[in-house]
Amino acid sequence: MSAPAAPVSRPGSPTLEALRMLAHNGPAVVGIAMIATIVAVAAIGPLLYPVDPYSIVAAPLSPPFDEFTPQAPFGTDYLGRDILAGIIHGARPTLLVGAFAAALTVVIGVTIGALAGFYGGWIDQALLRLTEFFQVLPPLLLAMVLVTLFSPSLPTIAISIGIVSWPAAMRLTRGEFLRIRQLDYVKAARAAGARNRRLIWRVILPNALPPLIISAALTIGVSILFEAGLSFLGLGDPNTMTWGLMIGANREYFLDAWWPVSIPGVAIFFTVLSVSLLGDGLNDAFNPKLRRR
């Protein structure tokens, strides 16, 4: 069945088209604005609010917006440390762990998935078995083992998260490669003299990117949650303030004081929400079926 003839002469590259689409997507724009705010806080917040998140500023577990402790507007934790300072100073390491772990996840997953999907045959089978091996292990458990082995520090935590969470990206990439590999323009590129390396990285990968970008955006959120989970279990880096660490450290006092746990929890919630909104927006923008006619 034919839809009405598509109008011709839409300007711009497919990527530009997608970005234009994104700019018209309300929730995605909200997500981008939220991400920009959070990144701004992470980047310049510590300069504007130079309170040491480790120093004790008031009585332990002072409630937020309390008239007796104006020096700690979000209240204090079980040691009397400023929660607002923790949120602001913890933003940068939290985001870095999330971004770095997501990047690592995507790099490992895409590389393995691309090779498996492109070459097929026994290479595909071997890489699939490897992926399944990582998939059957409980990721949190594996990450805990890795973190304990290498002693908890931000880089090892990020690397551990990357090592345990790449299988999803691998399967996605492999699927896209299997689909695109058999399209005529790949045959055409081969006929035009492209070597395998070019076919993988320059012909197929760019066309496989849209779903990968979406999944990468969502992986940032998942990684932040993962780091929080590890910190909650006491496997965070004790020398670096992160939102996860704040939740982990104060969890025993939750029944007496909700704020030392809930405020960093809300910060994580909004961060994950914002990347999810962006991810959904990217999904719509790259999905040609939803493009305006």
């Binding site: 300007p11 323009y185 035009a192 003299g193 066309n207």
Partner: protein, 339 residues
């Protein structure tokens, strides 16, 4: 036939092993292309026609070395290319290019039209770097696209224009042979005519040799000098255009022609359906005539031995036990002259 074939294919065979449904199931083999031989004289067009499952596209991809080859020889301008690998195979692609069926999936959506046409020259190092931009402009003009369209992306073109980009890309390295795999079957009729005329004009001007794959007898008749008819992986008849269409010998060719709808009313109203059922799959075919099951004239011998492709009258070739050496086919004997 010219003495100097640009392409010579001998005993080309492509088999696929079917995946077994369980470890105890027997292996089945798809005989996609079975012992196919043909040659293409320089500067002419050889058509390969057949229905789905005939193996015409598999054969074309094998010749282009874009698909697997199980056995056989493919000689391009006298050089054996069936066994080439790696860099040698890559560089021989200068001499052979392909035009694909679907103008929507054959162009990389992330490249601009000009880049698409230029890519083969860059990758195969044909023409001087400084000449390539001019060459792209020349090709755009040759296929009837405007120079400013070089910077557009594929989705900004209509189907017919996209096929022109595909044709320009195939011409970029000045190949010796161009395989056209159903180049117009995805296009509207008015655009089909434009594209077919373009292919013919280009051949006239630059002397290209075409291997033309199609299911459409009308299209094949219009562009081809010689035609090979394939059925279930084998060539059943091979003749020059006039002979084939004036007097098809193989019962399959004859039945195929009779099934083509005609815009000539007198012909249209007297058409008869001569074949029933769909063409079967070429899975483990018996050692007999593969058309025997559907053939209205099949005799005992047809179900026992496979007829070889042999020369009959006028240098045409046919693979049928029932066609006599002087070119009399069963349909003529039964008085069923011409479809």
């Amino acid at each position: 036939m010219s003495a100097d074939p640009i392409l010579e294919v001998s005993n080309l065979t492509v088999h696929f092993q079917n995946r077994r449904s369980n470890p105890f199931a027997p292996h089945t083999t798809v005989h996609a292309v079975d012992d196919v031989s043909f040659s293409l004289p320089r500067g002419s067009t050889l058509g390969i026609v057949g229905e789905s499952g005939s193996g015409k596209t598999t054969a074309a991809l094998a010749v282009m070395r874009l698909g697997p080859i199980t056995a056989g020889s493919v000689k391009l301008a006298g050089t054996e290319i069936a066994g080439l690998k790696g860099e040698e195979l890559r560089l021989v692609r200068r001499k052979m290019q392909v035009i694909f069926q679907d103008p929507y999936s054959s162009l990389n959506p992330r490249m601009r039209a000009g880049q698409i046409v230029r890519e083969p020259m860059d990758l195969l190092d044909v023409y001087d770097r400084s000449e390539r931009a001019d060459r792209v402009a020349e090709l755009f003009a040759a296929v009837g696209l405007r120079p400013e369209q070089e910077s557009l992306f594929p989705h900004q073109f209509s189907g017919g224009q996209r096929q022109r980009i595909g044709i320009a890309r195939a011409l970029a390295t000045d190949p010796e042979i161009i395989v056209c795999d159903e180049p117009v079957s995805a296009l509207d009729v008015a655009i089909q005519a434009q594209t077919l005329n373009l292919l013919r004009r280009l051949q006239k001007t630059f002397g290209y040799s075409y291997l033309f794959i199609s299911h459409d007898l009308g299209v094949v008749q219009y562009v081809c000098d010689e035609i090979a008819v394939m059925y279930l992986g084998q060539i059943v008849e091979h003749a020059v255009q006039v002979d084939l269409f004036r007097r098809p010998l193989h019962p399959y060719t004859w039945a195929l022609m009779s099934a083509v709808p005609s815009a000539n009313l007198a012909e249209a109203r007297q058409r008869r359906v001569l074949l029933t059922g769909d063409p079967p799959n070429p899975i483990d075919p018996p050692d007999a005539c593969r058309f025997a099951e559907r053939c209205p004239f099949a005799e005992e011998i047809c179900r026992k031995t496979a007829p070889p492709l042999r020369a009959v009258a006028n240098g045409r070739k046919v693979a049928c036990h029932l066609v006599s050496d002087d070119g009399e086919a069963p349909q003529h004997r039964e008085g069923l002259e011409g479809p």
